[in-house]
Subunit: 659 residues, 2 copies
């Protein structure tokens, strides 16, 4: 099997169930349709460019695939999300703009609206004739969305909803599509019926611009201006001064106002209702994770290709300089990051399958399955975007001065993905939610992130079946059962021992957090917050340990699925590197809790070095398996070495130049 | 003592010996003279803006202060470097452009040239009538500068030097001031006498543009175009096609060609000569470290001010939302980074004093003192720029969506400082040099970073007086002597124990590396490289441990200098937080090497949490002590909370707006 065949085998494994979608896009007639502009552009030019790209991709069928047949779609949710992930190899401004239009604006209409909204607005959403915004975040409230201040008050006399921004902090902020293109916004606001009663946050469709693009009366539109990246996305601000829309504009799947002005909802609890609404938007987080993964793989491919031809300093006894990839310090930067990208891609595939299957079942999927999906998506989003920020930064540095040139794409990838750790849920907040989900075993509403909710839910923790809810449960138990019990040499690379170490860390951290928080539940309020605060770090560490385990399992399951042969062997080594480098990063914890002796911890460090050494010669195969066309990657300076000599010989005799 | 007085006391400590320079600049009539543009600009506009700022600051006296009296300066080197550091609070494009002009181009003429060069070029360098480049890096050689390919061949017939770029990889790359403004370049090239003999890399002044700004004959100038940041710096590429300059353009302090064509130098060894030349340029690294420090303090001030007014989620039993700074996860992001910034600022001050004193002694300073300065500058540069990249990124994330808005400055600070980890020496390379310097106790030339040099020099290591060469040596020994010997509770915050743990880690790592590398010295070449490569990570870890110790000592010395009172107490807590959080970060190592029990390691984690808790209410004082004027910081959205209510009451009755 030659290297290309080996890479192809790995690609098949990484591509997953919707590999056909990936292959079709890789062979797309016009790769530049998704790519960044060839020439530097002003922000306004870039915005126009991105809008025209957005309109062009409405001709692709993947946005339509994201809707069920009943809504005029084709119902192939997995294909839709996979295609969106592939956009992450192109211009991330387009990815985000498409995410706002099809995922957030379209998703709100599809998931929170009812048939009349679907009929009226989904066709325009799909064909781009109705560009829209998702107006949730306010200047004063990002993470704590349950406490948004915008109001939607029912006026019984005119049967309208009055949308209003009562304070400067209540203005909608950072809203994609708002500054330039949006005609309508899905506005999240506290719904108040004419009797003055509040029903919590609901979503209302509000026209924000007229046909000519002028703001509607009462709507003030601001421009967020330049950002750290994503220059093609027109983020803006929206403030409403008692703007009136028909009552029918309320997206009323989970709460409606009847013509007589009475409110009704299939869900009694205000907060539970709101978190159910948020839950339907899980696809956004999953898509951000996918886009982050694709951008990270682009960066790793660029930095790895560079490290394989860039030479600096000779080895003793030699005149020829060594490639950067020859150096341990460089291997240690790139190879564990590649291994983690494998794990994330496989875990993302599992997550997309899970979401597809839940979505296809529609309403029939058990509720805890939906909660579990939300938790998994939150955790993978946080870990994948953290990995993106750290890894793309590392790749920039690993390419030295060349990495800093905009032409070589790494700085753009870094700047564009930077906000991924923030939007669709701040990572720190999301990781707390993941831990809370695990503690409550998905029996409680997912999104409530207040310290009180954390404490209350955690106190009901029963340390039961952490292991049972995993796609690879059987395999994992089998692997653990085979783990060597002693601290013997070479034990560290045993798969069962690795898995046991991961599971053990997750379990111990979760139990510890539950114990601490259940004390808080019995304490006075001010003491309760203190206990919560002391446990906050443990909460986040527990969530990290959980996602680490999910990643390792995804790798183990992929190895198991492989037929015997070179691809399986290589993937097995990648799994070892992911496992050992993760254990290495947490070796302080493992020693503190008596899980590793000092000697075994040193063995893990040595082992990571040896794995890097043995994987370095396969680095090209490993990134080729990501199968990103060179035309998409750009940055020829990073991809290929300079020619050996000047392309044209210099003229003789010398041109004389005396200054 | 109120908070402002307390902050002022800390400012005096942090400002150091050249505090007067800092105070004068803080009160500068026109702060915008150094600041970023108010409006978004295209790259070309930004370049023009930066150039005009550069010309404006030639009227300040700090570039002149950087030259000795003999060269037409005032010889207050410390003042010059301190003023440069303060530019780091402004537009970093100006900082870098000024660094290229005064530090690199001016520094090359001053330190590598002789009187005729000083007379001819320094006045124009100072007043900006001669804008210049520092043309060292080539496309093919960045870190391994000893192997640059550009040639400077003496033509005995015409008594000229012929500057030539023989290969595509030999073109000068990323050169500041080259794309737009530079008239002359200090070009580093292999000097070859007419007899064909090579004498290693020397520096030659080469005019690159004529009076009208057109490239000189034989000079090809390219534009690097857009970069990840620093839009105001015109980085470019220079290729020379047998360009002729008079022999006198050789900067000949360390090597000259006589009129008869013979070469002579005060230093016999080619490589030693080159590294001596490089050593004179130490001020560049020190200035990058200073600029990085200033930018980091700006970012920390912005993120801390935001964390003190931004509220999200209520505590149990309360309706009022808590500030971000109330949360442990947020405290743990900001406070240890503030403590490290204190340590770095104090260590930077020590370094500036050291450099000032060595420079003022001129030639009389012992050679190992110069080498030590080079090692210290390399280490502080690497650690300060790593801290800048990590901390500014963290600050961006800690400000959520607001942190991503360009107006709020954090993304610009991140993008502009990003390349600091690369230029003036790649950090990974620099940290190896630091370790090598420690192993050879500064008896060998400093800059040679080849694996062979590392191995050879390390094999002569004698683990002697690691502690002796430190400004605070007496204090440190005293502190260690007082350390508790047992693993008793509360021991972790004891200063002597902290210092002992730092020193121990450095010593053990260095001895381990020396042992490994000395084996390599006796081995066959291919085995030797393998041993070196296995030790490369240890080499870098040893350097980190060294700089950690330098930082802790700088803090200890500052506490010692304080008069008893609230400022001393607060600085003492900051020192504890720096020490404990550094030990926490390395707790895996401490346990592996039997320096901390599992129980003690857990105690360190708990202690960091408690220190964060007790320092959080002082966070404002801690950043106010950086004394950065609000007008320089910009980003009012981060500095102050939004007004409580809409500034103007809404008109009644409601304006009706029916879409």
């Amino acid at each position: 099997m030659d290297d290309q065949q080996l890479a192809d085998s790995l690609t098949t494994i990484l591509d997953g169930r919707w590999g056909a979608v990936r292959r079709r896009l890789r062979g797309h007639d016009d790769p530049t349709q998704f790519g960044p502009p060839d020439e530097p552009m002003s922000m306004e030019e870039h915005r126009a460019h991105t809008t025209s790209q957005l309109l062009a991709i409405t001709r692709e069928d993947f946005a339509r695939a994201g809707l069920t047949r009943g809504m005029g779609g084709t119902g192939d949710i997995g294909a839709s999300v996979t295609a969106f992930e592939m956009l992450g190899h192109g211009d991330l401004s387009l990815l985000v703009k498409a995410g706002v239009q099809f995922g957030l604006f379209g998703g709100a209409i599809a998931n929170l609206g009812t048939e009349r909204h679907h009929t009226a607005y989904l066709p325009g959403m799909l064909d781009g004739s109705l560009l829209g915004c998702f107006a949730m975040t306010e200047t004063g409230h990002g993470s704590n969305v349950q406490h948004l201040e915008t109001t939607a008050t029912h006026d019984a006399e005119t049967d309208e909803l009055v949308i209003h921004s009562p304070t400067p902090g209540s203005r909608k902020d950072y809203i994609g599509n708002a500054a330039r293109d949006g005609r309508m916004a899905a506005v999240f606001a506290q719904l108040i019926t004419a009797d003055g009663e509040g029903h919590g946050v609901h979503c209302v469709l509000v026209p924000i611009r007229d046909e000519d693009g002028n703001p509607m009366p009462g709507v003030t539109i601001g421009d967020c201006g330049a950002k750290g990246g994503l220059p093609g996305v027109d983020n803006g601000r929206l403030a409403f001064d008692r703007v009136r829309v028909p009552r029918e504009n309320l997206l009323d799947r989970y709460g409606s106002i009847a013509s007589d002005g009475t409110y009704s909802s299939p869900i009694d609890s205000t907060s539970r209702r709101f978190f159910t609404m948020l839950g339907t938007l899980v696809r956004g987080r999953l898509s951000v994770a996918g886009g982050a993964g694709a951008a990270t793989r682009s960066a790793l491919t660029l930095a790895t290709r560079y490290a394989l031809h860039r030479r600096q300093f000779a080895a003793p006894g030699s005149d020829e300089e060594l490639t950067l990839m020859s150096y341990r310090a460089h291997q240690r930067k790139l190879l564990p990051a590649i291994a983690k990208s494998y794990a994330l891609m496989l875990a993302q595939n599992e997550l997309v399958e899970m979401m597809h299957d839940v979505a296809v079942q529609e309403g029939e999927a058990p509720e805890d399955r939906q909660r579990e999906l939300e938790a998994r998506a939150a955790g993978i989003k946080a870990v994948a975007t953290r990995h993106a920020t750290d890894t793309i930064q590392m790749c920039r540095e690993a390419c030295g001065g060349a990495g800093y040139m905009a032409d070589n794409r790494l700085t753009g990838l870094k700047a564009d993905t930077d906000v991924f750790t923030t939007f669709e849920g701040d990572n720190t907040v999301l990781m707390q939610l993941v831990a809370k989900g695990l503690l409550t075993e998905f029996q409680e509403s997912f999104e409530d992130n207040s310290p009180l909710a954390m404490i209350t839910f955690a106190s009901r923790f029963t340390a039961s079946s952490i292991l049972e809810r995993t796609p690879a449960a059987g395999l994992i138990s089998k692997l653990i059962a085979r783990a060597p019990s002693s601290d013997e040499d070479g034990a560290e690379r045993h798969r069962g021992r690795q898995v046991a170490l991961f599971v053990d860390r997750e379990k111990h951290l979760l139990e510890g957090v539950a114990l601490r928080l259940s004390k808080a539940a019995k304490a006075e309020p001010d003491v309760a917050f203190r206990i919560f605060n002391n446990a906050q770090d443990h909460l986040i560490r527990a969530a990290e340990a959980h996602i680490d385990r999910v990643l390792l399992e995804a790798l183990c399951a992929a190895v198991e699925r492989c037929e015997d042969g070179p691809a399986k062997e290589l993937l097995d080594d990648v799994t070892d590197l992911f496992a050992e480098s993760t254990i290495e990063a947490n070796r302080g914890w493992y020693q503190e809790h008596g899980r590793l002796t000092a000697r075994a911890a040193k063995g893990v460090i040595r082992d990571v070095g040896e794995l890097c050494d043995s994987l370095a010669p396969r680095a090209r195969v490993l990134v080729d398996a990501f199968a990103i066309p060179d035309a998409w990657l750009g940055a020829p300076q990073l991809l290929e070495p300079l020619p050996e000599s000047r392309p044209e010989p210099l003229p003789e005799p010398l041109p004389e130049s005396r200054p």
